[in-house]
């Protein structure tokens, strides 16, 4: 089987279309970043509280919002998390609710606000922030439902109760009676004397103080900047400065459009999204290098042709492997996007967008830039001399002829 056999597409002739296409997407992204959604940073970068809560029945977001508002949490963002049948909700609080002195004040406020019918003198068995093994264990020891039992017996039962809550029911029990069949009736009665169940539980939380948020933001920006710089230096060393510049411009273009896509769709840029973007910086280089390697090889073989023809020929010759390599990686990333679950959603979204744009840009941005640079030089100097890597004699490793 073979796709793209002996293609002969005039890529450089279409450079204005490409430029228009790239401009539309970059400018749309930039506009959204500046005037519409801004850059939607996750709590890890702006500081704040994010809490995931699981309910016993389908949650009503408006009701939750009203409960939080009543507790004075004005800016809380409430939205469904993951598949509807999981009954999970993501609640995001602004930085204002997060201080370094009392980091989890916001989380506690959320728990208290959602706790609609607390029972005096009893604890909420679903509150996994507070109620764990030791609380259940000491409640059992206090009520002593099995007189004469060895202390280890209560250890075992407490573990069973929590395993049932966390592993069988995903962290939230509809009622203590659900434990029937797991533990004996006297134990259930004892638990009922110490605990009640609310309609939510299974909390996960991510809380980032303002100081760390600013620190992480700086680190992420530096990391992306440094890896672009590292790419530039490496390609300069392996090819020529202009090749490095062209490749880095193309990758910067990819990064910009990917971040723009997050802004346009108003998805949060989390730490893992930054990881995806850094991966893209490295990976987008691959296609560009494949084309550049071929240009370097062809420059030696095709001495009569102009650079534009050489570049066009090289893109066509490598087209099938460019598409195939990206296509295969895209396949795995797509499977991650479709099946990888909610936690990796942003991460795989960045890769899906980035790999498509990265492949496009190595054909439509990086290679044409080489030609554009040469033309600009020859216009300026009257008759341009082109420092091609084969003649420059600078690169140490050359393709074998």
């Amino acid at each position: 089987m073979e796709f793209f056999r002996n293609t002969n597409i005039d890529f450089l002739g279409r450079k204005w279309y490409f430029l228009t296409f790239s401009l539309i997407f970059s400018v749309a992204g930039i506009f959204s970043m500046l005037f519409w959604h801004g850059i939607p940073l996750g709590v890890e970068f702006r500081g704040g509280t994010r809490v995931y809560v699981k309910f016993t029945q389908t949650p009503n977001n408006d009701e939750i919002r009203a409960l939080l508002l009543r507790a004075g949490l004005r800016t809380a963002g409430v939205q469904r998390y993951d598949k509807p049948e999981y009954n999970e909700v993501e609640i995001v609080l602004d930085q204002k609710e997060t201080s370094e002195q009392d980091l989890d004040a916001g989380k506690k406020q959320i728990i208290n606000a959602l706790e609609t019918n607390p029972v005096a003198g009893k604890d909420d068995l679903n509150n996994n922030d507070k109620i764990g093994f030791s609380a259940v264990r000491s409640a059992l020891a206090l009520r002593n439902p099995m007189p004469g039992a060895a202390p280890e017996e209560y250890d075992r039962i407490a573990r069973q109760v929590l395993d049932f809550r966390d592993k069988q029911r995903g962290g939230v029990l509809k009622s203590i009676d659900e434990l029937q069949g797991t533990v004996t009736p006297p134990v259930i009665d004892a638990l009922k004397q110490s605990f009640y169940t609310s309609n939510f539980g299974g909390l996960s939380a991510q809380i980032v103080g303002p100081q760390v948020g600013a620190q992480l933001k700086q680190q992420a920006t530096l990391a992306v900047g440094f890896s672009l710089l590292a790419m530039l230096v490496y390609l300069w060393f392996r090819f020529e400065l202009i090749y490095g510049v062209a490749a880095v411009v193309a990758v910067f273009h990819d990064t910009l459009i990917t971040i723009g896509a997050f802004s346009l769709t108003n998805q949060e840029i989390t730490l893992t999204v930054i990881a995806a973007i850094l991966t893209l910086v490295g990976y987008s280089m691959n296609d560009t290098i494949v084309v550049f390697d071929r240009i370097r090889e062809n420059v030696k073989l095709m001495r009569r042709e102009s650079l534009a023809e050489i570049v066009n020929r090289s893109i066509n010759q490598t087209l099938s492997r460019t598409i195939l390599t990206s296509g295969l990686t895209f396949l795995t990333v797509l499977s991650l996007f479709l099946f990888g679950g909610e936690v990796l959603h942003g991460f795989s979204f960045a890769l899906v967008v980035g790999i498509v744009i990265g492949t496009y840009s190595s054909i439509a941005v990086a290679a044409p830039m080489l030609v554009a640079w040469q033309e600009w030089r020859s216009v300026r100097a009257g008759r341009g001399t082109v420092p091609l890597p084969a003649q420059a004699g600078k690169s140490k490793v050359r393709a074998k002829v």
Binding site: M1, E44, Y52, D82, Y86, E100, L103, D104, N128, D129, G132, S134, A135, S138, L142, R165, K167, G170, G171, S204, A205, Q206, V208, G209, Q211, V212, L222, A223, S227, A230, Y234, L271, T272, A275, T279, G282, M285, N286, I289, E297, Q317, S320, R321, L324, L328, T329, L331, T332, V333, L334, S335, L336, L338, F339, G340, G341, V343, L344, F347, V397
Partner: protein, 542 residues
């Protein structure tokens, strides 16, 4: 040639066995469960998959510096009055930001030399310089200051470790975070009540035994307390808040400024029950030296003595109780604070583990609850399986015979990657799983580059063996360049990233390194083996 091929094949099988060993170790049994257990023993799941809490704490090292400089001020005051040097005031002008700087104002003109001598003799950790207006500045030496800070962080880590151990958390991580930022990273896998654990870790747990004046009367407000003494506090006393005797309401006590005994004087503590009411209490035991001091104090202030007074039990600057002293006590005591059993146990544990040398603030908390972790791992495995199958099938259909070659290389690539992780006891995080999936996609890229080149050479009329040779040679430079760029960005991720992100970078680096071996070397050996069986001029399945 044939012999060469044989030794290369042997090398590949050797590598395979070594890295399989990395994944499984030496399994106890070869059943399905036995192998599963063997893998679980070597490759650990990260917090995001297993559930648990990840915390970063800031050690407020200035607390420890303040304690040191407070001590120096007390000593200086004593020595100056002994030497009869007059001064107007000793203070720390900027306690918050520069707790290491003490200013002595209005020293008598002839007192300068004596002050200097006192500092050199008794406070060698300070430098003293004269200022304007007869004031003198004591500044803690830079080396002393930095080692004090380092020690404070180390002691905090020690105390946290003791507390975590006594909570029975398995495989915790407690270490310094970053460089010189006085931060501590704590990872607690499988903790099922993070709220309680967090409170326990950051409790300073500074227990002090002080004198409670006015026989331990709890006043409702600070004002009420002052009014008892005509609006002025008695000398050497302070106001401390706490609970009233009935338990709940906020109350104010007048207690002595200095303590009779404090945290470091405690040699043991345990939870128990009061003999008559069975109420949970905490017993504590003092060291011998502190016990003597405590006996003197309780003897002088017991109920029937000439100067009866109460004992204030102060925990983290909060009065827990202020009982009267029935008779002289030497080296042990009890704390009745209206605790439940859990609280009594927790407090005893905190007292045993020792006080923190400085207070701790939480900077970040990330808790993965029971519902998130389990879903994630299933989704990750599903995505990996689907992605891998798609790639394997595509390669088989598109390159036929050579596709088998690539697929063998790919599977070997995964085995080496997982083996690497096993050897380094790396932690598998959710982004790490994504890294494995990406390795599948990127790993096969190298084979595509080689195969496409071979096809091109074949089209140009080369014989199979020559085409394979050229294909590998020409694609090698490209493969090297593409791997270097991706590894560089993955390396930056590994170095800069924390937790899961760092794990992702590491997975990617291992995967790509392994890929250089599998896609280029192993693949080549398979081609050579296939070619050696074929006759001259026979076509290659690619």
């Amino acid at each position: 040639m044939q012999k060469n091929l044989l030794s290369k094949t042997a090398l590949i099988f050797g590598v395979l066995i070594v890295f399989l060993g990395g994944i499984f170790g030496i399994p106890k049994s070869l059943t399905k469960d036995g192998l599963k257990q063997a893998v679980a023993d070597r490759i650990h799941l990260g917090l995001d998959l297993k559930g648990g809490t990840h915390l970063i704490l800031q050690v407020m090292v200035n607390d420890a510096v303040n304690a040191q400089s407070d001590h120096a001020i007390e000593l200086l005051k004593d020595e100056l009055s002994k030497a009869k040097v007059a001064y107007a005031d000793i203070s720390k002008p900027d306690e918050k930001n520069q707790p290491e700087r003490i200013v002595v104002k209005g020293v008598a003109l002839d007192g300068g030399t004596q002050l200097r001598n006192i500092v050199t003799d008794h406070l060698p950790e300070f430098d003293v310089t004269g200022g304007t207006d007869n004031s003198w500045v004591l500044l803690m030496k830079a080396t002393v200051l930095s080692s004090l800070k380092v020690r404070t962080v180390e002691q905090s880590i020690e105390a946290i470790r003791t507390r975590v151990d006594s909570l029975g958390v398995s495989e915790p991580v407690i270490q310094q975070n970053g460089l010189g930022e006085n931060q501590i990273l704590v990872q607690l896998p499988g903790v099922d009540d993070p709220g309680r654990v967090k409170t326990l870790l950051s409790s300073t747990a500074r227990l002090e035994l002080r004198e409670a004046l006015d026989r331990g009367t709890p006043y409702p407000t600070e004002r009420a307390a002052l009014e008892q003494h005509g609006g002025l506090l008695p000398p050497s006393t302070v106001l401390i808040h706490g609970k009233s005797r009935r338990g709940e309401a906020d109350a104010v006590y007048i207690v002595s400024r200095t303590s009779v005994a404090s945290g470091t004087d405690i040699r043991g503590a345990d939870a128990g029950n009061k003999s008559d009411t069975n109420e949970p209490i905490v017993n504590f035991y003092l060291t011998a030296a502190a016990g003597k001091k405590f006996a003197l104090f309780t003897g002088a202030h017991s109920k029937d003595s000439a100067n009866p007074s109460n004992l204030a039990i102060v925990l983290d600057n909060n009065v827990i109780t202020a009982p009267s002293i029935n008779s002289q006590i030497s080296d042990s005591g009890i704390i009745e604070g209206g605790f439940d059993e859990q609280h009594a146990k927790d407090l005893a544990m905190l007292l045993r583990s020792g006080a923190l040398p400085a207070s701790l603030h939480y900077l970040t908390e990330s808790t993965v609850g029971p519902s998130l972790g389990a879903d994630s791992i299933n989704a990750g495995i599903k995505a990996a399986t689907v992605g891998m199958l798609a790639v394997l099938i595509f390669m088989l259909v598109y390159y036929r015979g050579a596709g088998i070659n690539a697929n063998i290389a790919l599977v070997l690539n995964l085995i080496i990657l997982l083996g690497f992780m096993g050897f380094f006891s790396a932690v598998l995080t959710l982004p790490g799983i994504a890294g494995v999936i990406l390795t599948v996609g990127m790993g096969v890229d190298s084979n595509v580059l080689i195969f496409e080149r071979i096809r091109e050479e074949l089209r140009n009329g080369k014989a199979a063996a020559a085409a394979v040779d050229q294909g590998f040679n020409r694609a090698w430079t490209t493969i090297l360049d593409t791997h270097v760029t991706t590894i560089v960005s993955a390396l930056i991720l590994f170095l800069v990233g924390t937790g899961p992100v760092s794990g992702f970078g590491l997975t990617l680096i291992f995967g790509l390194l392994a890929n250089l071996f599998t896609a280029v070397f192993v693949s080549r050996v398979i081609f050579d083996a296939v070619l050696s069986r074929k006759g001259r001029g026979e076509a290659l399945s690619i």
